[in-house]
């Protein structure tokens, strides 16, 4: 077989959050932008850590760390059941700060808009962005707007940068053997709701995206003594739970063992996932977090999460072990056992 195009050109898979994107970052991006780790960013977690955000050491006299994160959003469709690109942009950035253990303190918003985009739609999007910020109490501090000719951008694309502050940032690599894995709620809602909402599927479902800022749910843990028992956090967005867990296991050189029937999944999500042959563990969530907790504190953390409406379905789903370093194991419901590996990219439906 001749050398494939993905080795010489950017393809869609390079942006899909899976293995191929990781390779691209390692080979092409990090050598040019990563700098020496960690001094380049002046903090403990810089670009090279490929975490949900970066830390910046504060000037002398101030305690704690600033956390900075940025995200671009090109969701299709722009308005989907349960949210829109505005709420998604706000939640995405706020959630990246939250899983770094940081209270969001300011955000930016940049929009690239297609010529002819209706004002009314733009108003809805900006309103949704602002509403999500009010749930957290963080302001937008600056922004930017660009307009592109018809066809050069599909409707609208948003970029947000968020600044947060943390006594000490929580990474996604701090797992220790014995830790318990908590999920803050049901898995697969956002990805499956978006798939169902795309015209080509002709599906009428009740699926609703879970897009929401999770700071209000996690603040009671992060701003109490429980914080010291949280060893790692991550929000399972692109690539879903499977990608996030694998990344955490690899970075911490631990093994994560998950009990499949303990993973909360809605019936509607499970049904569509079986229909389309797409695993709910491999699609994006936009209002959930994986919280890795010291075993002594796991039950208390679970209770605290469940007190918030967003955490009503929270569950302990697994344990950190040492059996297979860097891998994720799934104990299946029937009593079988297998590896849960990193998804390759956007799932495509099966045909048989």
């Amino acid at each position: 077989m001749s050398p494939s195009r993905k080795d010489t050109q950017i393809t869609q898979l390079h942006g899909a959050g899976g293995e191929l994107m990781g390779e691209l970052l390692e080979r092409l991006i990090l050598p040019r932008l990563g700098g020496p780790d960690p001094a380049h960013s002046g903090g403990e977690i810089g670009l090279r850590a490929l975490d949900d955000g970066a830390t910046i050491a504060l000037p002398e006299g101030m305690t704690g760390q600033l956390v900075l994160t940025t995200d671009s959003h090109v969701v299709k469709p722009i308005f989907f059941p349960g949210g829109d690109i505005g709420r998604l942009a706000a939640a995405g950035t706020i959630n990246d700060l939250t899983v770094m253990g940081a209270r969001p303190i300011a955000l930016t918003l940049a929009a690239i808009i297609e010529e002819g985009f209706p004002f009314s739609d733009l108003e809805r999007i900006v309103d949704a962005f602002a509403a999500a910020l009010r749930e957290v109490g963080a302001p937008v501090v600056c922004g930017d707007t660009k307009v592109m000719p018809v066809g050069d951008v599909d409707g609208i694309a948003l970029n947000t940068t968020g600044l947060g502050i943390a006594p000490r940032a929580i990474s996604d690599a701090g797992l220790r053997p014995g830790d318990r894995i908590l999920l803050t709620g049901t898995i697969g809602d956002h990805g499956m709701a978006l798939l169902a909402a795309r015209e080509e599927f002709h599906l009428a479902t009740e699926l609703v995206s879970d897009v929401a800022p999770i700071w209000p749910m996690l603040a009671p843990l992060l701003e109490s003594d429980l914080r010291n028992s949280i060893h790692a956090m991550k929000d399972p967005t692109r690539g879903g739970l499977a990608a996030a867990l694998n990344e955490m296991a690899r970075k911490s050189s631990t093994c994560i063992e998950i009990v499949e029937p303990d993973i909360p999944i809605r019936d509607s999500v499970r049904g569509l996932s079986e229909l389309l042959g797409i695993s709910p563990l491999e699609v994006a969530n936009e209002g959930k977090a994986i919280v890795v907790v010291d075993p002594e504190a796991a039950d208390e953390a679970l209770d605290r999460l469940r007190e918030h409406p967003l955490g009503a379905d929270a569950a302990i789903v697994g344990t950190v072990t040492e059996e297979y370093s860097g891998r994720v194991i799934l104990d299946t419901e029937i009593g079988g056992r297998r590896f849960l590996d990193m998804p390759l990219g956007d799932p495509v439906p099966r045909i048989c």
């Binding site: 195009r5 299946t332 029937i334 297998r338 590896f339 849960l340 998804p343 439906p349 048989c352």
Partner: protein
Amino acid sequence: MSRAFHFSDPKRGRALADAIRILAPPDPYKIVHVCGTHEMAITRNGLRRFLPETVDLLEGPGCPVCVTPARDIDTAIAIARTGAILCTFGDMMRVPGTELSLDEARSEGCDVRTILSADEAVVTARQTDREVVFFAVGFETTAPMTAVVLLDDPPPNLSVLASHKLIPPALVALLDLPDNRIGAYLAPGHVSTIIGTHPYEKWLNDRRVPVVIGGFEPLDILYAIALILRQHRDGTPKVENGYPRAVDPEGNAAAQRLLDAVFEPTDANWRGIGTIPSSGLRLRDAFKAFDATERFPLDLPEGRDEVPGCRCPDVLTARAVPSDCPLFAKTCTPLSPIGPCMVGAEGACSIWFRYGGERPL
């Protein structure tokens, strides 16, 4: 968050595992299934953990895109290069042709579009004056949808490149390959909902191998394996329906009429196996006007299916498991696949790689 009947119930699972252990033969016994969905369920649920040491369970030619020969893909690309819009299922995109995959042809500028059902090709054709070609792959499950398109007043700018394949003739061909030693077939539930039980009887009844139709839930599969082992122990090989809640012995008569109205059996080339008599479907004369190979007469060289060192032919004929191949998970991964079984989402190598089938835990 519970389902009406619990098809992964661990208690029932243990009961079936006990039955399988009691029924297990003392000598090595190879059960072959021919369905990517079966392999997915077996590997994803870790079901091989329930099999006794003497029993092997392998996927044969169960991935429709994997058995599509390179020449059919070459043909599709050649048609797309004439400026036609080529519509096909997502799984087909990355399967290697002789030089390029459809995905690579698209990057090169060809208009190749993925669709989820055959009627989307019709919608595409109605919205354009350009030629639209539906590259139709799949077993008896997907072929009726292609037939519906052709029977329902298709737009004149639509044509079909048919690469459909039939399962029962392939089961026979596999038995006739040298050194196969296939003990029994776990027959595919989806295909059987269409064809029923009779075609297996017609093709396989004088071959004295158990053929048990199985569903796709963990308990369905363990149950079908128990039925196979019981037939083997009792020396009563036959076609048995282990999936009666979905499969009628007569099959789906409406779907069969559609198939018969549009297609007739023809010899077909299966990647990794070769030509199998009466194992493919070609358009009947009445539909020749919609046959893409008639509309786009091409003179292509023979395709090249095989890659040196790649054991896909052995995997597709159930003579090897993916980890027997020296390339598996080393130079051949889903990111840089060498053979089709690592490309197709239903291919054994891809499933083993993605769902940790390389070693039972």
